[in-house]
Amino acid sequence: MSVIPGVVAINTFREAVRDRVLYNLIFFALMMIGAAILVGQISIGIERMVIINLGLSAISIFGIIMAIFIGVGLVYKEMEKRTLYSLLSKPIRRWEFLVGKFAGLLLTLVVNTALMTLGLGAALYCVSRKFERADATILVAVYFILLELALVTALALFFSCFTSPMLSTLYTLGIYVAGVFAPGIQGISQFTSNWVLAVVTRFIYYLLPNFHNFGVIAAAAHGDAVPLVLIWHNTVYAALYVLLILVASAAVFSGRNLK
């Protein structure tokens, strides 16, 4: 397997790390977790639950913001700034470039999420002075958040290949929101009597990336275990969907004439 994507990935990671805007986002996220502790004091008896709920939600929201914010510029910026001119003259295939950019941003997100999870763990420890076995679900929830982020990143990357950051943001956000409400779409399909609408919404339901699958924050707050088979299925789902998007991105990008 070629090492080129890895080279691009490390460089993408480096770029993200040197982007000062990122630090503001992380700071806000950590503040959210701090706020969670405060709110937890108000809700007696369920401090843990509130901290976990708010903390995981903050990690998820900020992760998504970062994924979109950086993701929509991944390819677009390089095309606009013409940094691709010198890069593509090297022995690198276009798809290797795409995979590298994706992996680099994902790496950035993993590192950031890990840091924020540590913050969450610290907040939790502050409040309850011990960790329970059930807290393992929190890690599962974080893992699912990472799966979510991988999907969002791939989507942003795809749009970045052919449209401006603003439109990419709209499209990616739109698909994300639709994916979160996927069960609602399935609901329409099941309960409408208009068979055309039923078929169409069913099709859309299976087409959209189903972000609702990854919503286990509530379970983590309750300390409910997530079955292993579900973890496995969701991992495969996310991986295949990401692959699908990357293949489509490669198809688009490899024919693109740079200005």
Binding site: F181, F191, L230, H233, Y237, A250, S254
Partner: protein, 305 residues
């Protein structure tokens, strides 16, 4: 595309995409079905409402209450639909969701009507909480005094589920005072007061529910009840014929054919689902075991035997 692409790697990538993308979509769809099944089996009611307070949510919605109400309404539909009639389903969050929805948008009529029908449904079709349903509808009436249909729902709740025929009649009467109300409301007021506990009355009420809404789920449920009542009525009549037979021949009929031959029944002897009625032991008519119709567990006057 106006020009042929000379770019080999682009052609290859497009071909790969044309093959791989639909395939991957298909695999993902299959996976999604598995995941859906797993999630349902796993834990039905961990649908957690983080914020339970309707008024608080209203404040937080920063002027977007009706949008938020719509979102919660879709959650209601989905929540119910996912669980409807599945064995072992619980509906703990149905009332809170409806409560929040109607607090955010007190004029969302469809929520009141939905709640009236489904909050009161006995398990496994609903939580069986007619009392909460009444509470909901009364809030609806308070916020929408002009909506006479809500009185219809109130009447429905009192007569069908709570068996308080006096209150039911009062509700129908109150609703009939609205100049837009159908004449039918007055009729029902009288009818319920006199014969509230009869099957035919219940059937009328359910028919009223069925024809007053376009909501698919409500119609489906109403139709189920109507069929169930029809089947019960049909069986009741057959039972009377069976007793006539006993009076005439000194023994119970052993099949529907015997009743027919004796001239005691005629026409098609089928339940509303199209399955023929069968004769059970001791001349007690029964539904065909394959029939999907569920008889109401407690219903109407007249013991069968």
């Amino acid at each position: 595309m106006s020009k042929r692409s000379q770019n080999k790697s682009h052609i290859r990538a497009v071909l790969l995409a044309l093959v791989a993308v639909p395939t991957l979509f298909a695999v993902c769809a299959a996976l999604q079905m598995r995941i859906d099944a797993d999630t349902l089996a796993m834990n039905q009611d961990k649908e957690e409402l983080l914020l339970r307070s309707g008024p608080l949510l209203k404040k937080l919605s920063l002027g977007y209450e009706s949008l938020l109400a719509d979102i919660y309404w879709t959650r209601v539909v989905q929540y119910y639909g996912v669980r409807a009639h599945k064995p072992g389903a619980t509906y703990e969050q149905l009332w809170p969701l409806l409560d929040i929805t109607t607090t955010l948008d007190p004029n969302l009529m469809i929520a009141y009507r939905f709640g009236a029908v489904f909050l009161s449904e006995q398990p496994p079709g609903g939580p069986g909480r007619a009392d909460l349903a009444v509470q909901l509808v009364q809030r609806g009436i308070a916020e929408n005094p002009d909506e006479w249909r809500l009185y219809q729902d109130l009447g429905f709740l009192y007569s069908i589920h709570l068996k308080d025929y006096k209150k039911a009649s009062e509700a129908y009467l109150e609703g009939s005072k609205n100049p837009n109300a159908q004449i039918w409301m007055k009729v029902m007021a009288a009818r319920v007061a006199e014969t509230g506990n009869e099957l035919e009355t219940s059937r009328l009420i359910w028919t009223g529910v069925y024809s007053s809404t376009k909501d698919e789920q409500v119609r489906r449920t109403a139709l189920q009840h109507i069929h169930s009542l029809d089947a019960t009525l049909g069986l009741k009549r057959l039972n009377e014929s069976s007793e006539d037979y006993w009076r005439k021949f000194g023994r119970f009929p052993t099949s529907m054919q015997e009743l027919r031959d004796a001239g005691l029944v005629g026409g098609t002897l089928q339940d509303p689902a199209g399955y023929p009625y069968v004769m059970g032991p001791n001349g007690v008519p029964q539904l065909d075991p394959k029939s999907p119709i569920q008889l109401e567990s407690e219903q109407g006057s007249g013991k069968l035997r």
